[in-house]
């Protein structure tokens, strides 16, 4: 074996030694929001299936989604959804070769966080 040092090689630094940065945090949040939204999506599928099944099934699903806990889940979901949407928009801008430098990437990350909160407040007020 050419690799005589197998098993005793230096490891790359673990994630926790890095100082948090706008770019890393905004990226991690895109992953968390995108994957967590499966919970919301399945709740909404449940609501549609219940509505298609009849008034009794609908009453059960609707009572959950319109309870205080349902309101909490859906409000957080809307925040995650707007954030993920803005993050996706940033990826599309990046893929077009624009805003790739650190300064403007960090500005975009800050904008995503501010705008997602504002859009969530707007959604809660309108809806």
């Amino acid at each position: 074996m050419a690799d005589v040092n197998r098993g005793n090689r230096p490891l790359s630094p673990h994630l926790t030694i890095y100082r948090p940065q706008w770019t890393s945090i905004s990226s991690i949040l895109i992953r968390i929001t995108g994957n967590a939204l499966i919970v919301t999506a399945l709740l909404i599928v449940w609501w549609f299936v219940a509505a298609a099944s009849g008034p009794e099934a609908f009453a059960t699903a609707d009572a959950f989604l319109t309870s205080w806990f349902g309101d909490l889940v859906l409000t957080l979901s809307v925040l995650g959804l707007w954030y993920h949407l803005l993050g996706g928009l940033r990826h599309l801008v990046w893929d077009s070769g624009r805003m790739l430098d650190v300064d403007r990437s960090e500005l975009a990350a800050q904008m995503m966080m501010v705008l997602s909160v504002l859009l969530t407040i707007f959604t809660v007020v309108v809806v």
Binding site: R31, G34, N35, L37, I38, A41, L42, I44, V45, W47, F48, V49, A51, A52, P55, F58, A59, D62, L65, T66, L74, V78, L81, L85, G88, L89, H91, L92, D95, T123, V126, V127
Partner: protein, 123 residues
Amino acid sequence: MAFLTDRKRASGLGSAKTGTQHHWQMMVSSVALLFLVPLFIFTFGSILGSSYEEVIAYYQRPFPAVVAILTMLVGFYHFRGGVQTLIEDYVHGMARKIAIIGMICVSYTAAAFAVFAIIRIAL
């Protein structure tokens, strides 16, 4: 090698060798969702909390129903691609394959239930 295109020079490189198609699928579905998600938030959001009869009547209208169907279809397709990336980063070996196949099944099953339910309400 001036006759080689940039596409040909890049093809098959990188640690994974493939992935262009996956990235393109995520780009296309994200562009669609950029329009669908706001439409769905405000249509679904406006009727949530109404009575059973109002909800059924609302989703018998073409626009809210088609927005909901497209959002569910494209949304679960986008989730299928996104969760695959998550699994590939953190799960290895046989468990990775099982997890990816399992999440693909969950995505398409949920999308099918949603589309069936919305069409049944609408018709």
